[in-house]
């Protein structure tokens, strides 16, 4: 299972790097979504995969039995998903705003903050 997930993470990263190398910033953002999910999966797998052993503490004992699933990576992933969703929503709105004010989605044409003549100085 770990190997399968590792391959899946690899495919996600490869696809997202391909998307992020595009000059269209919208594609870049989609790549970013994919890679953030790859990062979430990485945390999940790094926390060890356990099947069918919920982290519950039996009545009368103070600690869970050995071999239960680790709940912490899942909590981390959940937090990261929420934060990632917020940032993604913001980035998407910004891209829309960029398209309406700058009239382009191509990063090569976004030269207002750093006009080309600056390069010669």
């Amino acid at each position: 299972m770990e190997a399968l997930l590792a391959v899946a993470i690899g495919v996600l990263v490869a696809a997202s790097v391909y998307l992020m190398l595009a000059r269209n910033v919208l594609r870049f953002i989609f790549g970013l979504v994919l890679i953030s999910n790859a990062a979430n999966l990485t945390i999940f797998v790094a926390g060890r995969l356990t099947v069918g052993a919920p982290p519950l503490i039996a009545k009368g004992t103070e600690a869970p039995a050995d071999g239960v699933a680790n709940a912490l990576p899942q909590a981390l992933v959940l937090t990261a998903i929420v934060i990632g969703f917020g940032l993604f929503a913001f980035a998407l709105v910004l891209m829309f705003r960029a398209y309406t004010t700058l009239g382009t989605l191509y990063s090569d044409e976004m030269r207002i903050a750093e006009p080309p003549e600056d390069a010669i100085g």
């Binding site: 790094a46 981390l76 990261a80 917020g86 940032l87 910004l94 705003r97 903050a113 600056d118």
Partner: protein, 500 residues
């Protein structure tokens, strides 16, 4: 005990909420200022506590470390919180004059206070995942501040800032996941104890490089700094000043924290990379500045070259060098924020930040000229200002261990910094204004003038004071360095049982 640490976190968020409710009334800006004054009080209390106890620790919700979230302030953390509060107070006063009511209605003050809360949180947390969360708090509010107003240049710069910072965030998160998988903990003190005992030290080094890249983007290190000069000259001047003062320094702080506490086993590998990166960061930053012709763009590139000095201190890793890095960090925040504030006043009275279009400030606004000269000379490293001591300690530390190359680079970059500052001086202050106007300070009405100039004067005074009376501050920086290099006190204070 825990209130010393909780108050500097709670105050910015509470004032953010109150300020948001008052965003349509002029009272909002004053509430923001008062909130930051309170923060300054709380930060001073925390600092005095840190000076007494060495390391102040609080376990949130009484969950013992390493299971709960730990807030901790050692010498470095305490002084960073204090300097954050000082800068925030100065900038929030400046913002009273600088930020128009439209931006206030859009939530400038609320975003500003959330940003400050995120920065203090990042300086005080003792948990790696919690650090990630504070970075995100900081990031999302900085996004808002950067594009507030929605001018074309802001959107353009914002896209570059946001995309590159998001990539670094994801790297940071991946590093956290991998490190947790290996060490089974994310508490920094616990990591410091666990990581050196791990079997596979090669993998630890790889993970440390992931963190180095992630924080390298945040700290604007070579070759990862391109988002900074693309965006820092576009927003309102108050925003530029607080970004220039604090944001990259959070990245530097995170690097110092992790590479002294957690990843200090393979120094020959990691710190050699850092040393080269430091040298290239200094050089590219200062050369980039030399090619610019805009007040704020020159200052933006100088942030990069100055970051190089701090990383140089970290890379050398001797007690004196780390002390130099701590000294530099604090000196730089004061001076850089101040220079951006000066550039704002100069834009208001001359009409532009492009050096070709402005001039005549020395003759018609001599007070502003002096207030520019103090931080500018300090940045360039003239005695007796704070920048001289900062550079002196670092270069002395390099020579002490025969690091002649890095010492030479640091000296030459200092020289080139003087060149850039002279360029701003000659163009904006010395030469007559091209349109023949006399840009005097009383072109601003009296109330605004006080709000503009008081914070600038205050920060300039701080630079002077650190410069004229450096002994106590140098010995403090040395104590901070000793704490960083011998983290056993930090580790024990965090991990000791609460009832002991």
């Amino acid at each position: 005990m825990s209130w010393f640490l909780a108050a500097p976190l709670a105050i910015p968020f509470i004032s953010a909420v109150i300020v948001f409710l008052f965003r349509q009334s002029p009272a909002g800006r004053w509430i923001s200022f008062v909130g930051n004054l309170l923060l300054l009080g709380a930060a001073s209390l925390l600092m005095s506590r840190v000076l007494l106890d060495g390391v102040v620790v609080a376990q949130m919700g009484s969950w013992a470390a390493p299971f709960g979230i730990t807030l901790v302030a050692d010498y470095l953390g305490g002084v960073m919180v204090l300097i954050t509060a000082i800068t925030a107070t100065a900038v929030s006063m400046y913002a009273i004059a600088d930020i128009d009511s439209r931006k206030e209605y859009l939530g400038y003050h609320a975003l500003f206070n959330v940003l400050i809360g995120g920065v203090t949180g990042a300086f005080m947390t003792g948990d790696l995942f919690n650090l990630y969360v504070w970075f995100e708090v900081m990031l999302i509010s900085s996004f808002g501040l950067l594009i507030l107003g929605g001018q074309k240049a802001q959107i353009d710069g914002g896209i570059k800032y946001i995309t590159l910072n998001l990539v670094s965030t994801i790297l940071f998160l991946t590093g956290i996941g991998l490190l947790y998988g290996m060490a089974g903990t994310l508490n920094l003190a616990d990591l410091a104890r666990t990581v050196p005992t791990l079997q596979n030290q090669g993998l630890v080094t790889i993970i440390s490089v992931i963190f180095m890249i992630a924080f390298g983007v945040k700290a604007a290190l070579f070759p990862l700094f391109f988002w900074l000069p693309a965006s820092y000259h576009t927003p309102a001047f108050s925003v530029s000043a607080i970004f220039a003062g604090l944001l990259t320094k959070v990245g530097v702080y995170a690097l110092i924290r992790l590479f002294t506490l957690v990843f200090s086993s393979d120094l020959a590998f990691t710190h050699t990379i850092l040393l080269w990166v430091a040298a290239f960061t200094m050089i590219t930053g200062v050369l980039g500045a030399a090619a610019q012709n805009d007040f704020r763009k020159i200052l933006s590139f100088h942030i990069i070259s100055q970051i190089g000095y701090m990383i140089m201190g970290l890379a050398l890793m001797t007690p004196l060098a780390i002390a130099g890095a701590v000294f530099y960090l604090v000196h730089h925040i004061i001076v850089k924020a101040n220079l951006f504030l000066v550039s704002g006043v100069s834009q208001v009275i001359t009409g532009s930040t492009e050096l070709k279009k402005i001039g005549g400030l020395y003759k018609s606004a001599p007070l502003l000229a002096i207030l520019f000269l103090i931080p500018a000379f300090s940045l360039a490293g003239f005695p007796p200002l704070s920048g001289f001591w900062a550079k002196y300690i670092l270069i002395a530390a390099a020579i002490e261990i025969d690091g002649w190359i890095i010492a030479t680079v640091a000296l030459v970059v200092g020289l080139l910094t003087i060149f850039s500052m002279t360029k701003i001086w000659a163009e904006a202050f010395w030469k007559p204004h091209p349109d023949g106007i006399a840009p005097a300070l009383h072109r601003i009405d009296k109330k605004d003038r006080i709000n503009y100039l008081t914070p600038i004067g205050f920060l300039a005074l701080l630079t002077l004071l650190i410069g004229l009376f450096p002994e106590s501050y140098v010995s403090f920086a040395e104590a901070a360095a000793e704490q960083l290099l011998n983290p056993s006190v930090y580790i024990e204070s965090v991990l000791k049982k609460p009832h002991e």
